[in-house]
Symmetry: C2
Subunit: 229 residues, 2 copies
DNA sequence: ATCGTTATATTGGAATCCAATATACATCAA
DNA sequence: TTGATGTATATTGGATTCCAATATAACGAT
């Protein structure tokens, strides 16, 4: 990112994705400017960027807050993600057999291993990566960017709801999706993608997590200040 | 829009969509600030917004320009639009028979009339509206917004390439798409959507239009200064 | 004509200032 | 005590001014 405000936006986005800034948190300009060592203007520009992305909500004369997702918005985001992933699956058919295809398959199997070994952290990480990689297989940057944006927005959910997933089932789904695409059973693959995402959404709303105590702003962003490549 | 920069962004977006600001046009901060009667800061924030949207490209220390679309980007945008419209079609199946459905059907038939009467302007207008309405039928705001963004971006093409479409064929496609959805032949409907969009893309690249002389900035945005509701 | 140098203009950003307004606080009435 | 009202304060949105970095243009020398 060549601009200061872009860097700031990246830092704040990381803080949100890392669940150190949770929905509803106030993002005061002065406070952020001080914590980040930049002027208010740059902070504001960063917040505008993030508002455009949907991660932040700016209220006139009240300031910026980490966005809250309504139930309806959540459902619509997941529905949109499903649409994109289904489309990506259709486009990815032509990629079967490439090295990229082999890679995603390997990852999916690693995830299955991790899930069966109850390595929740790794399994979760690989699971998220799968959806990413599937879209990347489509070879369409525009689609990829839109999907990434939706992914960022649903991260807001993780900060509120604590979900209990059947990691094994999810990992198995991933492998089955790949199988179906390989066998050119696109319709079935797309149906499974839809079902798979429905399960994920349901997982979120089964139980609401205890409210996490919000961190002080400066503390929340601290780990992300050093901007590694 | 509650913020000044949002209003400015809207004005500039309209100017681009109205093809008064064409790809490559320099959007000088000072010049715009003067023409719009606001400070440079607000203009910059507006440009940042639009850059996030893809309509504007900001180059470090060089300024903002109306984005140019590469051939590859164009293809990917249309591919993404196709994916979204196909997904929307799937979701719209449940809307068959509603008043909204009747409305889009009426519009599509109006377009066919206009096309057969060689009323190019009206036909074109209704044709664009069709794709919009189809996505709106899905009842998913997130999907709708993404589609609208892609639509804004492809407008950049209109400013460069002059296309010769077979308006009648396009209008007929629209009606056939509706027919297929009504008959629950989703796969065929989606295939037709894909083919339909492929034809549109091809139409753009058949012949390059004469270069339009760029308007002076102030003149370009003049018609959009009065912001009607 | 080509290359290097200088001059100029523009951007990116900081610091300061101010109006509008939302929130908090205090005061007062029931 | 509780509710309503008015005041104080803090924050935002924006304007203005200033400056460094740098890209572009103008210019001159070879």
């Amino acid at each position: 990112m060549s601009s200061r405000s872009g860097e700031i936006a990246t830092i704040l986005t990381r803080a949100i994705m890392g669940q150190r800034l949770t929905p509803g948190a106030k993002l005061g300009e002065r406070e952020l400017a001080e914590a980040l060592g930049v002027s208010r203007i740059v902070v504001r520009q960063a917040l505008i960027r993030m508002a455009e992305d949907g991660l932040v909500t700016i209220e006139r004369n009240r300031g910026a807050f980490v966005s809250r997702l309504s139930l309806q918005e959540t459902l619509q985001i997941y529905e949109a993600m499903t649409v994109i992933e289904q489309g990506a699956a259709a486009l990815a058919v032509t990629r079967v057999g490439t090295t990229a295809w082999a890679a995603i398959r390997r990852q999916a199997e690693l995830q299955r291993q991790a899930a069966h070994d109850s390595n929740h952290g790794l399994s979760d990480h690989l699971g998220i990566g799968f959806h990413f990689d599937l879209v990347r297989l489509a070879g369409n940057r525009v689609l990829e960017d839109m999907h990434a944006q939706l992914t960022r927005r649903v991260t807001l959910l993780h900060s509120i709801y604590r979900s209990e997933f059947d990691q094994c089932a999810l990992a198995d789904d991933h492998l089955r999706i790949l199988d179906l695409i390989e066998k050119r059973q696109l319709k079935k693959a797309q149906d499974l993608i839809a079902e798979h995402n429905r399960v994920i959404v349901k997982g979120f709303f089964l139980e609401e997590s205890e409210a996490k105590r919000p961190l002080p702003l400066a503390e929340a962003i601290a780990p992300f200040l050093a901007t590694p490549a």
